[in-house]
């Protein structure tokens, strides 16, 4: 325990976790729903980061896995009353299977970089079109989850309840994802992924099974992302293919990680906080100024500034500032 307390990074993390755990005591429902957005963005960013940041495989279609998870959890609940935690297994299995198809196509036929990214977009797009025409999941008119009756007690098993409950679920998922990513990165597979990311040919020459390790990254990333989708379905209670599978979501999903620092552990969390704070702050500011579109322009300028000034992301820079030495991530 003393060793843990001597590690400044661990102290900061535990401190942050404690503050977040106590947040519902002070924050109202509106504030909590913003924090949920932050946590979900961080969670999804970490999921994407496994594939892009750790293993260097660029997916531009991660909304695909969000949507598959959301629809699997949502539709099974709507049609059969299946609890989301069971439905999540279906969602993760389907996402991993689709990821396996994309990975096999990409990695076996040496579709790399931008072309691989195009492949991931293509899958996300035609899945969207498919869901737009699939009656069982409500097609383009959407799928709606029955909300809980007013004042009914929180039901964690069925994920029906108050904003506070959703907040704690999101916090637990994000903390678990952080711990999981950290464990991955510190193991052999983490080193193999980074080697593949840095130079695939050199990794191959060191006896690493490049195909297998890239596939594992895709499967883990896809499954993690779809669990986020399940949460999203139950939190929002409505699903439209247009929005859940959209290119916009794919971009939004990775933006936090890019801002925070691709390949870092804390980057996705920091990025989510910064992006949400920026978005909310500018909305308030925009309302004061009263000119339409000011928010979007300012938001874009801020993102560009961050990327130009700190191309590696904010976390590597902040880490130096806080003098968190040691591990390079």
């Amino acid at each position: 325990m003393t060793a843990l307390l001597q590690d400044r990074r661990a102290v900061l993390l535990l401190g942050l976790l404690a503050i977040l755990a106590l947040a519902p005591l002070a924050a109202g429902d509106y504030m909590l729903s913003i924090l949920i957005t932050v946590l979900l963005q961080a969670y999804l960013g970490m999921s994407w980061n496994v594939m892009m940041g750790f293993a260097g495989q660029f997916s531009l279609g991660h909304a695909l896995y969000v949507g598959l998870g959301a629809y699997a959890g949502g539709a099974l609940f709507v049609h059969y009353g299946t609890p989301p935690w069971i439905g999540a297994f279906a969602g993760m299995a389907v996402s991993a299977a689709v990821g396996a198809v994309i990975g096999t196509l990409g990695f076996r036929f040496k579709v790399m970089g931008v072309y691989f990214a195009l492949l991931t977009i293509a899958f996300a797009e035609f899945t969207r079109v498919l869901f737009d025409h699939w009656g069982w999941v409500g097609a383009s008119s959407g799928l709606f989850l029955p909300p809980a009756a007013n004042n009914s007690p929180d039901n964690l098993w069925l994920l029906r309840g108050s904003t506070t409950m959703f907040y704690y679920v999101a916090l637990a998922m994000t903390a678990a994802a952080f711990w999981f990513c950290r464990a991955l990165l510190m193991r052999r597979i983490g080193y193999y992924w980074q080697a593949i990311r840095e130079d695939q040919d050199a990794a191959d020459a060191l006896g690493i099974d490049v195909f297998r390790n890239k596939m594992i990254a895709v499967l883990i990333s896809a499954a993690m992302t779809s669990l986020g989708g399940v949460f999203l379905a139950f939190f929002n209670n409505n699903l439209y293919p247009e929005s859940i599978f959209s290119m916009h979501r794919s971009i939004e999903l990775m933006l936090g990680t890019i801002i925070g620092g691709i390949g870092t552990l804390f980057g996705p969390i920091l990025g989510a906080v910064v992006l949400t704070a920026l978005g909310e702050g500018l909305t308030i500011l925009g309302a004061h100024i009263g000119i339409d579109g000011v928010k979007q322009i300012a938001y874009g300028i801020c993102l560009m500034l961050i990327l130009v000034l700190k191309p590696g992301g904010l976390w590597p820079w902040l880490r130096k500032l806080l003098r968190l030495e040691g591990d390079a991530r």
Binding site: Y191, Q194, A195, A202, D204, G207, V210
Partner: protein, 245 residues
Amino acid sequence: MTATTPMLTVENLGKSFRGLRAVNQVAFTVPRGDIVALIGPNGAGKTTTFNLIAGALPPSDGRVVLDGEDVTGLGQAAICRAGVGRTFQIVKPFAGLTVEENVMVGALRHDNGDVEKARAASRAILDLLELGDRAKDPAQTLTLPDRKRLEVAKALATRPKLLLLDEVMAGLRPVECDRMVAILTGLNKETGLTILLIEHVMRAVMALSHHVVVLHHGEKIAEGTPAEVTSHPKVLECYLGEDHG
């Protein structure tokens, strides 16, 4: 395998790139525990031969036999696992990782992927190659000579039976070159590591190798001890031209 089985036998190895014959009917053996050099003018097919042995390229014809086991066309990763460690002429460090982590990646295949054991192995190899004090630095901060050393360290970490070195002396100052020669000779003497190297720096070839194979236009034109090869008429001809006097 018996002590007399050669570490590497290359039989009638050939490679064509769309009709261009880069390597033709090359055959030689690398005896267990020896240091063999592959020399020849630019474009002689040395690196292609290396890539065929290491599995980076599939041979058009011929066989590669490692320690009695046919590894022809197995692919780079499988051949590495079979016991061949290689360096790249154009160095390929994992730029974003630390020097220590670069070497750990090679070591992690052993000891069930135990990260701490791989770290210890990495430190030992880095100390041997005099890179120990750079262990925690990002690999991208290394100078070219240090990157060459890192290439050797990464290959050694895979615990090879046969080490393939592609111009690791290039760009080194004479003193550094002598250090590298001493390190490699030491490894060869102490651990019995078999080494096949491509080298242009004749100073290193002379000091290191027991046996030299000369390639020219993709074919073997001579082989023998360093002294024999350097006085061989065909070798003089390909390096200096016909009227060398």
